[in-house]
């Protein structure tokens, strides 16, 4: 009954979760190559789902002032300022600042500032988004930056003019994993798999135990300070049930966020990558689309223009419950052994 497949590897999650006649799995494809960082997704999500604001704090992470995905931000737009060839998100014209009397790039600093977390973005005791500042710094130009934001601008010397620059933007969201750690560890049934294959926290069930928080390999799900319950993107479960588009995708001015049947989106995304490669944007790549990855593929996947770490995404996420069946098997064997021992001792006692 409990297949290995239920916890790892490719799977169509809705039928596996008790919906024999499940509709097609629905998902998000977020194409960051056309994201303009307007944050309509963040606002539309909050308006529809009545999510509280995340506080009024200037974070200085480029134009990001909500810091990451939290219980109070179910969409989050990351901004990354990079001193690398760009121009139209990595299209064919390098040299945004070629020929102007600029100094060298502030590369590691700006990269860290953009990708890093200047504060705990989660509402306590949430976790901040998974960001490796060292990795972010390492993706940019030399010299190596030690990740200590300070008053001066590391890496600048007056005789090495900067010429290249690009500004990446990405709307991040819950991945609605095929194998969702949060759901697998939830002891109350608050987290559940919907007929669309999405993962939803039921606010009427959640008791705020918090087990789900460390189980998310992306650091997405988070507890809200005032009520302790866990909150995250529902892919607008109430809307999609009525055939409507989730609020973020509906608002998105440039169709950076696309909603639809996951299989169809995956095809669309492959086509988009091919097209960008043809246009010379060779750094375009997909993230979270692969059913063979550590979470069985994401229901919300991305087209990125750099390594995932640059956007604050883990390069190789693995669902923490991957080894659960094995562990259960071992636990089962141990239990049998113990029962046998009891029987033996009982028998022994009798003898």
């Amino acid at each position: 009954m409990v297949s290995k497949n239920s916890f790892y590897g490719p799977l169509d999650p809705a039928p596996d979760a008790g919906y024999p006649d499940a509709p097609p799995r629905m998902g998000f494809f977020t194409d960051t190559s056309v994201c303009i960082g307007c944050k309509a997704c963040e606002v539309a999500c909050k308006e529809w789902n009545a999510v509280p604001d995340d506080g009024f704090n200037l974070l200085g992470q480029s134009y990001d002032n909500t810091g990451g995905l939290t219980a109070n931000s179910w969409r989050h737009v990351a901004f990354i300022e990079q001193p690398v060839a760009g121009g139209g998100h990595g299209t064919d014209v390098p040299g945004a600042f070629a020929g102007v009397p600029a100094g060298p790039p502030v590369s590691p600093h700006t990269a860290v500032v953009a990708a890093g977390t200047a504060r705990d973005g989660g509402t306590a005791p949430g976790v901040p988004p998974a960001v490796d500042v060292f990795a972010a710094a390492a993706t940019t130009a030399e010299p190596q930056f030690l990740g200590m934001p300070g008053r001066d601008l590391p890496g600048r010397t007056p005789d090495a003019p900067r010429s290249d620059f690009r500004w990446l933007m990405m709307s991040n969201v819950c991945k609605h994993c095929t194998h969702a750690g949060c759901l697998d560890v939830c002891p109350t049934g608050a987290l559940f798999r919907t007929e669309y294959g999405t993962v939803v926290v039921q606010e009427d069930i959640c008791n705020g135990c918090g087990y789900c928080i460390p189980a998310c390999p992306y650091g997405v799900i988070d507890q809200r300070k005032d009520d302790g319950r866990a909150w995250k993107c529902t892919m607008c479960y109430d809307r999609i049930g009525d055939g409507l588009t989730p609020a973020c995708a509906k608002a998105c001015p440039t169709q950076s966020i696309q909603y639809g049947e996951l299989e169809e989106l995956r095809g669309r995304a492959r086509h988009r990558v091919e097209k960008l490669h043809e246009q010379g944007v060779t750094e375009a790549r997909l993230y979270g689309h692969d059913p063979e990855d550590g979470v069985g593929g994401d229901g919300a996947f991305f087209l990125l223009l750099d390594e995932p770490e640059v956007y604050g995404l883990p390069p190789d996420p693995i669902v923490p419950t991957r080894d659960l069946p094995k562990m259960w098997k071992r636990a089962g064997l141990a239990g049998l052994a113990m029962a046998a021992a009891v029987v033996v001792s009982f028998l022994g006692g009798r003898s």
Partner: protein, 855 residues
């Protein structure tokens, strides 16, 4: 565009995905630059040098669309032999009068028209500047006679084409680099992309946001863009045009049906006491007796407006009530008003969804003015800074306003939101869209429709029985509105037959005999057939790409103006790929995807009879039907205060000496020389180094203008919670500024503080051999709301474009220093110390005319 008009930007992304090349020119790297193929940084305030360089590239390499240029522009028209260029006169055109700071425009005229009645002498030109009437007839050129001498070979040395070529010959790539700080290869990349993507088969769109208007040469910026688009044949054609991205839901509508001092509805001028003493003078000033085009019928539009105002009381005998209209005597613009408030000349002030304490230039003057009124009425959704200046404005801290000594009586009247009333907005493409009312406004909240209906009723009740002549205009006014029915007002705007009340179908049905009434002639047709055309909502997916059945566009539902130019002189599409409107010889009419902007049955070969004027004088190939000569103007023989061709002047505050002319800045700019309106010194004046940096301001995606509709909302406030200033790493190093630390920015008017963002998106530029640093700030913050901060507009002084009286607020000079600004009276001391160091004594003002290097 991505920053301030994200939803409009979807079309740029779509075009890009289909292979279009996107170029973004901006002093700072923005969210638009991030999606562009090419980003061109440049110095704020040098746009004419840049665009003039493009004109030089086009003319020097003969890249113009010659057939279009000869047929549809005034390129072949001969200019008067008296004309002298800025290139001859070191930065002045012929006719400059130092006394008035204005031009006698006779020498700018077409050949043979130097003495025409329509020519402005310097005194008239000065009056035009004061009353912003140079360009008040926004939809047409000023009156000139139709018959003008031409040389279609473009060889005559005084034809417009050759005049233009000489004028821009100095704007070489080297000069562009020197003035704008744009590397030559980048500049040439723009030139090549623009020209190679224009012509028969292709068109290029020029999109600007209205920061372009906020310069002392703002109108000429846009003129330069228009010249390029005309030379390349991009006007009146699909995918072309000059597109202004305006920033307020109905700012186009508020110009068409103006709440502006110098205009009546439909760009009819407000009467001037001297120029328009009589009805006939007024009408004749709108239309030249011999001009071509639809403005020739101005009398019908004017009479119909007066009939709409005064109904039966408007008769031929009393000049349709013209004598009741109030008269202008000069400059009555918003900045003059504010200074008059400071001087105690104004008693009462209405603010209708407007927050000048944050949104207008020279915030301190705005607030001090409001503190010196008898009464102030503020109508808004939220409590805004302009309603609370007397209790928490910056001048409270400095002691300049003391609540117990401030006499201004303030009424805060809560307003209805867009959901709580019905009516039309006119969006940026002249499209009227009807809004249905969703629900009633809460509490005391009321619409402007209700407020002004009620106010008018009360005033008329209180004046009832008055025999004073001055009360006639109010008592005779047609004013039987219900206060919540937008359609009844829209019907009046559309116009109707006085006898039957039936809506007129179009402005061509309007009469000068009093038989029609019409509130705004260019909106005629919006209630055609008794149907609210602005409420049409046929889904975009069910119609062609022009979407002509969604809303209603003025004039006459035309979506692209001057679209006759989308066909060649014979009426055939320039190319299959770019066909839009064309002549159907079989049917004997113009047809196409849009409503033709031409008389439907006038054949391309039509030539007017000798001596014709008005509509009859429009030839079958006069595509620009509202222009006096039927042509698109590469050269403006009249109508502009500051010259017939755009030329590079430095911003009023600039760290750079004008590299082209002795004349430093626009010699006709509108100035207010008062001790409370100092200007930072610029070369050749001394002490400019006290304010060494260039600053510019603009919007963030996450906020709206002065913040009244965004800083009050948590979901927007959290996205941009604090006032900040962006600086390059180089400037940060030079001034010791830290990322996320505090800095204060200082001008001769004010010092404000902001958090610092050090970013590679700002870069120094090399201008005329020097490194120039630019800083940037958003202008959304003030003292009220969920998130508060200092206002960038406090930094600005008041100097205006001479044509339209809009302030130069997109460029200025400043100093920036680390740390917060002082508070209390010490803040005033700091600013005063800067003024002293800059040699700005109260009576010191930059002369209009730059006479001497050592001045």
């Amino acid at each position: 565009m991505a920053e301030a008009h994200p939803v409009g930007f979807q079309y740029v992304v779509e075009a890009k995905n289909r292979g279009a090349k996107v170029i973004h020119v901006d002093p700072r790297f923005t969210r638009t630059s991030a999606l562009a193929h090419s980003y061109v940084p440049m110095r704020a305030g040098a746009d004419i040098a840049f665009l003039g360089g493009v004109i030089n590239y086009i003319l020097g390499n003969e890249k113009d669309f010659r057939e279009y240029v000869v047929a549809y522009t005034n390129a072949s028209t001969i200019v008067s032999e008296d004309f002298q260029d800025t290139e001859d006169l070191d930065g002045l055109f012929s006719g400059y009068d130092p006394e008035t700071g204005a031009y006698h425009q006779g020498s700018w005229a077409y050949e043979g028209q130097q003495e025409d009645d329509s020519v402005r002498d310097h005194v008239e030109s000065h009056i035009d500047r004061e009353t912003a009437s140079g360009l008040e007839q926004e939809s047409h050129g000023p009156p000139v006679p139709a018959d003008v001498p031409r040389d279609p070979t473009l060889q005559h040395p005084r034809c417009v084409y050759q005049v233009l070529k000489r004028h821009y010959a100095r704007y070489t790539p080297e000069v562009v680099e020197r003035v704008c700080g744009v590397p030559q290869d980048k500049f040439l990349e723009v030139c090549e992309a623009w020209t190679s993507n224009s012509g028969r088969e292709r068109t290029t769109a020029l999109v600007y946001s209205v920061g372009w208007t906020q310069h002392s040469v703002g109108v000429q910026y846009i003129r330069t863009g228009a010249i390029i688009q005309l030379l390349l044949g991009n006007m009146g054609r699909p995918g072309g045009g000059v597109m202004a991205l305006r920033g307020h839901a109905s700012i186009q509508g508020s110009t068409d049906i103006p709440t502006l001092f110098n205009l009546l509805p439909g760009y009819l001028p407000m009467p001037h006491h001297e120029k328009h003493a009589t009805f006939q003078q007024w009408v004749d000033s709108i239309r030249h007796p011999a001009q071509k085009g639809f403005w020739a019928d101005a009398e019908a539009y004017a009479v119909s407006l007066l009939k709409a105002y005064w109904g039966d009381a408007a008769t031929r005998e009393n000049n349709w009530g013209y004598d009741l209209l109030p008269r202008l005597t000069g400059d009555h613009g918003t900045y003059q008003q504010v200074l008059s408030m400071i001087d105690g000349k104004i008693k009462g002030y209405f603010l209708l969804g407007q927050n000048p304490a944050v949104g207008s230039a020279h915030g301190r003057a705005q607030r001090l003015g409001m503190a010196n009124l008898d009464w102030l009425v503020v109508r808004d959704l939220f409590m805004i800074e302009s309603a609370t200046f007397w209790k928490d404005g910056p001048e409270i801290a400095t002691g300049e306003i003391v609540p117990e000594q401030c006499r201004t009586e303030v009424f805060f009247m809560p307003a209805a939101s867009h959901a709580e009333k019905e009516g039309t907005f006119t969006q940026t493409q002249r499209l009227l869209q009807w809004r249905e009312k969703a629900l009633d406004p809460p509490g005391d909240c009321r619409s402007e429709l209700w407020f002004f209906t009620r106010l008018g009723q009360l005033m008329r009740e209180k004046l009832a029985g008055s025999t004073l002549p001055r009360d006639r205009a109010l008592l005779d006014l047609t004013w039987d509105y219900s206060g919540d029915d937008g359609e009844e007002v829209l019907r009046e705007i559309n116009g109707y037959d006085v006898a039957t009340g039936a809506p007129v179908p179009n402005f061509t049905a309007l009469k000068a005999d009093g038989s029609t009434a019409c509130g705004c002639w260019i909106y005629s047709g919006v209630f055609k057939d008794g149907v609210n055309q602005a409420a049409r909502r046929k889904p975009g997916s069910e119609q062609n790409w022009v979407a002509g059945e969604w809303g209603w566009a003025w004039p006459s539902d035309r979506r692209t103006l001057y679209n006759r130019a989308s066909a060649d002189p014979e009426g055939r599409p320039w190319s299959e790929r770019k066909k839009y409107v064309w002549w159907d010889a079989g049917a004997g009419e113009w047809t196409g995807y849009d409503v033709p902007d031409f008389e439907r049955n006038k054949a391309p070969g039509y030539r007017p009879p000798e001596g014709a004027s008005g509509v009859e004088a429009i030839a079958g190939d006069d595509a620009f039907i509202m222009q006096g000569d039927g042509k698109g103007w590469l050269y403006a023989p009249s109508g502009l205060i500051d010259g017939p061709m755009p030329t590079h002047y430095e911003p009023v505050e600039s760290p750079v000496r004008n590299p082209l002319y002795t004349q430093q800045s626009n010699p006709t700019r509108k100035v207010y020389e008062r001790p409370d309106n100092p200007t930072n010194p610029s070369p050749p004046e001394r002490h400019g180094e006290v304010f060494p940096y260039v600053f510019s301001t603009s919007r963030l995606t996450e906020h709206h203008t002065a913040g009244g509709m965004s800083r009050q909302l948590a979901y927007l406030s959290e996205l941009q919670p604090e006032m900040f200033v962006e600086v390059s790493p180089e400037l940060a190093a030079e001034r010791g500024l830290e990322h996320l630390g505090w800095a204060h920015v200082v001008t001769a008017r004010a010092a404000i503080e902001a958090r610092v963002l050090v970013t590679d998106r700002l870069t120094p530029l090399r201008v005329d051999g020097r490194v120039i640093h630019q800083i940037w700030m958003p202008y959304h913050w003030g003292s009220s709301g969920l998130v508060t901060g200092d206002s960038a507009n406090d930094l600005l002084g008041i100097t205006l474009d001479p044509n339209v009286l809009i302030q130069e607020s997109k460029v200025g000079t400043c100093d920036i220093q680390p740390g917060r600004r002082p508070v209390g009276p010490a803040l005033l001391d700091l600013v005063r110390a800067y003024r002293d160091r800059a040699g700005l004594s109260p009576d010191r003002h930059t002369p209009l005319l730059t006479e001497d290097e050592q001045a």
